[in-house]
């Protein structure tokens, strides 16, 4: 039954991901990437990570891609050279070969075996009873407090860096 939800979402994620690297107009690529993010958000919901699914839509599709689209339209590039496939054919084929090698190395060791590991305490029933967001909040402010504070400093540094870099 879960397959009925997983297969269309996975297919949408894969198709939009391939469209990102194939389409020539950067605006179309950004829109395809937004489609990928929505498909991934649905898969996160299937994995019972409701908080991450919503944050994915808000942060990735709603903030990061909006920033991308601002820059794409600000720079107003038009279409990429249509001859990238003919002129650079050796480089494109080499890139695809390297990627296939990477894919084989990723899938063969872990793709078909059952990974074992020490099971933690947060089973699906416990997460369903307490609530996914409540658990994330509880852990974020107790066990992961130091990375949380450091993340706030990272964001501050990013803001300052952007203001310095984008100044005329």
């Amino acid at each position: 039954m879960e397959w009925l939800v997983f297969v269309p979402l996975a297919a949408m994620a894969l198709i939009t991901a391939v469209l990102v690297i194939v389409l020539r107009n950067p605006v179309y690529c950004a829109l395809s990437l937004i489609g990928t993010f929505f498909a991934l958000s649905g898969i996160y919901l299937l994995l019972q990570a409701q908080f991450i699914a919503v944050v994915q839509v808000i942060v990735y599709a709603g903030a990061i891609m909006v920033l991308f689209l601002f820059v794409v339209m600000l720079l107003d590039l038009g279409h990429e050279l249509p001859a990238w496939l003919q002129r650079d054919r050796p480089r494109v084929l080499l890139g695809i070969c390297v990627t296939l090698l990477l894919l084989v190395e990723l899938v063969i060791p872990i793709g078909f075996r059952t990974p074992h590991g020490p099971q933690g305490p947060y089973t699906s029933e416990l997460v369903g009873a307490v609530g996914n967001t409540q658990l994330v909040g509880r852990l974020l402010f107790t066990e992961f407090l130091i990375p949380f504070e450091i993340t706030s400093i990272i964001l501050l540094i990013a803001i300052i860096g952007v203001m310095v870099l984008a100044r005329r």
Partner: protein, 103 residues
């Protein structure tokens, strides 16, 4: 077919998404599309984390995904600022033409 989707399906989907991102970085010449492919790779890794978090009954994966998203947002902001500064100086975003440091 089992009733629930096994962990391997999520891992293979994540590996294929990561490989598509790597292909985008290697093939495309537009700096913005290369940047989008990097975001695709980050999302593939997020999927791996969340899948393992569910199947190993741990919340660590989801917390780490939260931090990855925050760092990715900061990285996108700074990267786009660099790309804008680059475009202001060179009027082109083709990474093949950005070769002033070449020997």
């Amino acid at each position: 077919m089992t009733a629930t989707v096994p962990l391997n399906a999520y891992l293979i989907l994540s590996a294929v998404l990561f490989a598509i991102g790597v292909t985008g970085v290697l093939i495309r010449r537009n700096a913005l599309v290369i940047f989008m492919s990097i975001e695709l790779m980050l999302n593939a890794v997020n999927l791996t984390f969340v899948a393992f978090s569910r199947f190993l009954h741990s919340m660590d994966g989801q917390i780490i995904v939260l931090f990855v998203m925050a760092v990715a947002a900061a990285e996108v902001a700074v990267g786009l600022a660099i790309i804008i500064a680059l475009y202001r100086n060179k009027e082109s975003l083709n990474v093949d033409e950005i070769n002033l440091l070449k020997g």
